[in-house]
């Protein structure tokens, strides 16, 4: 039996704790007095909530889920009742799909919104919990037809490799540089080099197969909603065509992508950036996914969370014996 324990301060967002092996875990919110007890074998998402007065309940919503990010589990698809044709498409559900803000979802099977099908989008949840609005902004409304329905799945984790390739939502020339918006947080670092693939259908085809160096990995850090989905690269795009989103539902192109490609050593050294910030590494892990909220183990921002977790010696099932 091995036991680990520690504490963390809640950021108010879903939190992951990595363990090689975990069979039971306790979480105690020192700020509210609420605690949670989880045992291996419990239904996914379930844990026992122990209120301050000692009452024990199973919360109806997901609170603790064991995860293994190298082999993500595809979750059940949800019906999207309608899609708002807007620069920030809104996916509207009849019943709350259980997504939370900053989740990444993929939408498909829409006849009217085919130009955004199959792309992974980070979303903000509203209304309450039934409307998923893309964090990124497209350059124009993506459909010539408008509206439509569809289906969606949540993507629990992306590629385990850092940094990963991303889909591009928009690009604009800023002075003699190019500002790029991705559909999900990109996780890139300044000094990293990136290469673009942009089909003619998206306007700014001149950037196709060009490589540039990231000079600012998070230029919108003061705007929380856009945090981590934009970066600036040293490509002079002033003479390029404007980036646009195709609206025709006849699709004969590939979505624009950007991918990291090494580190610009001269830039990194000159600007005191780490020459390993863009190095590849496998960030997969085994552990527990903890949900945030007043009735969840992570609590709300600023809560102090104490935890302990244990791994059993063996997973043999020990049954009661007759005496």
């Amino acid at each position: 039996m091995a036991t680990f324990s520690n504490k963390f301060i809640s950021t108010g967002a879903r939190t992951f704790l990595p363990f090689q092996q975990v069979d039971e875990a306790d979480f105690w919110n020192a700020s509210t007095g609420v605690s949670f007890k989880w045992y291996r074998g419990m239904e996914n998402g379930k844990a026992i909530l122990i209120a301050q007065n000692g009452d024990k309940t199973f919360p109806a919503t997901k609170v603790i889920t064991p995860i293994k990010t190298s082999i993500p589990t595809i979750e059940a698809e949800k019906d999207v009742a309608s899609i708002t044709n807007a620069v920030q498409p809104v996916f509207i559900y009849d019943m709350a799909p259980g997504y939370v803000t900053n989740d990444i979802i993929r939408v498909y099977s829409s006849t009217n919104q085919r130009t955004i099908m199959g792309i992974d989008f980070a979303v903000t949840m509203n209304g309450p919990g039934t409307q998923a609005t893309t964090v990124c902004t497209l350059p124009n409304e993506p459909s010539e037809l408008g509206g439509g329905e569809g289906k969606s799945v949540r993507i629990p984790y992306g590629s385990p490799f850092y940094p990963a390739y991303r889909n591009i939502a928009d690009m604009i020339a800023v002075g003699q540089t190019l500002k790029v918006f991705t559909t999900v947080p990109h996780g890139y670092a300044a000094g990293g080099r990136v290469t673009f693939q942009v089909d003619r259908a998206f306007g700014m085809y001149q950037v196709n197969e060009l490589t540039g160096t990231i000079t600012d990995a998070n230029p919108d850090s003061t705007a929380p909603a856009k945090n981590s989905i934009s970066f600036i690269v040293d490509i002079d795009a002033t003479a390029f065509s404007a980036f646009e989103w195709p609206i025709s539902q006849t699709l004969t192109y590939t979505y624009p992508t950007v991918a990291p490609e090494g580190t610009d050593i001269a830039y990194a050294l000159k600007n005191n950036e780490s020459i390993y910030a863009s190095a590849y590494s496998d960030r997969s892990f085994i552990g527990l996914q903890l949900e945030a909220g007043v009735s969840a183990p992570v609590g709300v921002a600023g809560n102090e969370i104490w935890w302990s977790a244990s791994a059993n010696f063996s997973h043999d099932e020990i049954e009661p014996v007759d005496v």
């Binding site: 190298s70 590629s159 990136v194 590939t254 490609e261 050593i265 020459i275």
Partner: protein, 316 residues
């Protein structure tokens, strides 16, 4: 009557001496990689460095005698952090004492398969992050992307050639053999076995058996289409719910010379680790057998590593 009711057999079953096979899929993703070893004591990262090309000099130097501005040579590093992976099993001593078969040998054999399959999947998932992605669009299944066709393969080949990627395999000469044909200089394509029916439907598909010298094909090779020789594996990369109607999308990788590399660390590249019962337990109750390996994969140039995304005609 004397029968088994009064003379039962002493032994009621015989275990056949040869064990049944398990799936051992083709492991195709490391076949075309550049392989390196990080020396022991060599730190966390393997770094590959490229001195980029100078641009062109097309402007007249004129008559003033003034030198043009000097050019700096750009250097780019491609670093990958070597990580450790492993798996083990505990084996209670009674198994070794009471079972007739060689338990440890069987464990060792199965651990070996697990290690190589793990390595293959790690390489595959890293290859999937290339920027050079192209959807198949020339098929007829009304999906985005469509099923793979000859025209899609030729488009991806053209992108690689435009970027001066180098063929991996030299052509196979023709021979005076009925029904056979030569094979062009080729890139390899690494594909999931699910796309085999669509490959067979590609215009100009040539099965490996129809190569003029079939023995020059790799074990995992299914056939050739134009300048592509296709290796197939059930481990080929795929993403569920990723097409326009939620079908599985398959990615066919097109590696070229020096497009990606794999690295391990000297001394830990692959280890079979046996821990004896007297080390594990005070009463010698169990042994353990496991493996550990070090690994990292790095892409050296995205435009040299193509990823052609497709669905399959029948749909999954």
């Amino acid at each position: 009557m004397n029968n088994r009711a009064n003379i039962p057999p002493a032994m009621i079953n015989s275990l056949y001496k040869r064990f049944l096979a398990v799936e051992e899929p083709n492991l195709i993703h490391g076949v075309t990689a550049t392989y390196q070893t990080l020396p022991k004591g060599g730190g966390l990262y393997m770094t590959w460095r490229r001195y980029e090309k100078f641009g062109l000099a097309l402007d007249d130097l004129g008559i003033t005698g003034q030198d043009p501005a000097p050019r700096d040579l750009e250097i780019n590093d491609y670093s990958a952090q070597v990580k450790y992976y492993g798996l083990y099993a505990n084996i209670q001593e009674q198994l070794e004492i009471q079972n007739q078969e060689s338990v440890l040998n069987i464990f060792a054999e199965r651990l070996g398969i697990s290690m190589r399959e793990s390595e293959d999947v790690l390489i595959r998932d890293r290859m999937a992050t290339t920027m050079n992605v192209m959807n198949c669009t020339k098929g007829g299944n009304a999906q985005v992307p469509t099923e793979i066709t000859r025209d899609d393969i030729v488009r991806m080949t053209q992108v690689l050639i435009r970027n001066s990627a180098k063929f991996i395999s030299r052509g196979v000469d023709g021979a005076d053999r009925y029904g056979s044909g030569p094979v062009r200089d080729a890139f390899f394509a690494l594909a999931n076995t699910d796309i085999i029916p669509d490959l067979e439907n590609c215009d100009g598909f040539q099965a490996r058996w129809n190569y003029s010298y079939p023995d020059k094909a790799l074990e995992s090779e299914w056939g050739a289409v134009r300048n592509i020789r296709v290796l197939v594996s059930p481990f080929g990369y795929k993403r569920e719910n990723a097409s326009s109607t939620g079908q599985t999308v398959y990615s066919v990788f097109f590696p070229t010379i020096e497009s990606y590399g794999i690295v391990d660390q000297s001394g830990t590249s692959s280890q079979l680790i046996y821990t004896a019962p007297n080390v594990n337990s005070r009463l010698n109750l169990y042994a353990s057998l496991g493996y550990k390996f070090t690994h990292a994969t790095q892409i050296f140039k995205d435009v040299w590593l193509g990823r052609l995304d497709c669905t399959i005609y029948a749909g999954v």
